[in-house]
Symmetry: C2
Subunit: 218 residues, 2 copies
């Protein structure tokens, strides 16, 4: 079976992605990132899901001491927005971690080069999203060009199959693929239960409601 790298957070999107990639016949290699995020629980859940699915995985640890993002600076508070505000007409939310997807993808590229893996999957989507600049089509297309510029024998592709899908569509796909949503973790705040108020909780709730399914975490 052909290997594929999956950027894997243990959240709703990337867990659905992991099942999608397996369903496509790949043997997934999960990259899990410990970058000092306040919601450490996502790392624990990511490892559980990787083990449950018999997926090889690596945990990559680093710190971004310069980023004042509220996702890694515990002195700041995670902001709460109305659903109508999320991802629209406002400046970058404080949860944005500077350069995060660029760093994540650069590690994936290193692994792909070293192990001759062609396909890197990322669960980014630009429909129901927080407005981060590194979750948009233009950005992933530019990554393709960067990788071509290396002129490697092993041509590496970055694939974001959920880019244009709504959260509802992702959840409907996941339900078909029997994704264990009870094991996934989305909340940014870092408590033992989802806060229900952060952007991530709100987008998740909207997704389950629109899809007509019950969220096992609610």
């Amino acid at each position: 079976m052909k290997k594929a790298i999956v950027l894997f957070s243990g959240g709703l999107d990337s867990t659905t992605l992991l099942y999608y990639v397996k369903n496509k016949g790949y043997n997934p290699v999960c990259l899990i990132f410990d970058y000092g995020q306040r919601h450490k629980k996502e790392i624990i859940q990511a490892k559980k899901i990787a083990e449950l699915t018999n997926s090889e995985y690596y945990v990559i640890k680093f710190k971004l001491n310069w980023s004042g993002s509220s996702l890694i600076d515990l002195k700041r508070k995670v902001p709460f927005h109305k659903i109508s505000e999320i991802g629209k007409n406002r400046s970058l939310p404080s949860t944005y971690v500077h350069g995060r997807n660029t760093i994540f993808l650069s590690f994936a590229v290193s692994l792909a080069e070293a192990k001759n893996i062609k396909d890197i999957f990322i669960g980014a989507n630009e429909v129901d999203f927080s407005g981060y600049p590194d979750c948009r089509k233009e950005y992933f297309s530019a990554w393709g060009k960067l990788l071509s510029s290396l002129g490697l024998k092993n041509k590496i592709n970055i694939i974001a199959p959920f880019l244009k899908m709504s959260k509802k569509e992702i959840i409907c796909l996941g339900m078909k693929l029997k994704v264990p949503y009870n094991l996934t973790w989305s909340c940014y705040v870092g408590g033992s239960k989802p806060c229900g108020k952060c952007d991530s909780c709100i987008l998740r709730r909207k997704g389950f409601r629109d899809a007509g399914f019950h969220d096992p975490l609610s």
Copy 2:
């Protein structure tokens, strides 16, 4: 004074770069990487030089467990090549660390975004070099496009001023700028003295000889 990020290894090229950047009137912020390289001495020297030049610096630590590069896998040996072989007509040398510059630059981009710094300097050169694919003009041009695709208010530039310079030219520039080459470290092998045989030692020796200066480390 305007800040600039300098990817800084404590080697000959990046130390010359640091002095070049200071000479251009920037206030440098050095990024030093501890990625498990066998020549840990370069990190020690990099910190010394950053302190000597009153430069702000960050040390970023991570591991690339998957890369079998002889620069980080201590079970492998650093290869010795003839000067005529280096960078020419051979496959990637075992010292190539998969995706290294991509990872380094991604951290620099994160810092640039977070601190509103516009310019990132890298000391890569494609004349007297080991043939690494992430040291070529096409690669840095593609990075420019990736950064544009983010559509950030702070337009970030990646600048590689030594790209087309020979080692001789870099050293001649450094001598004018009074670079303390006695503090720099180039050898890959990881001993307390330069081995004199690895690609990095050979290119350094050739550079000093061509420039007509004495290497204080020789």
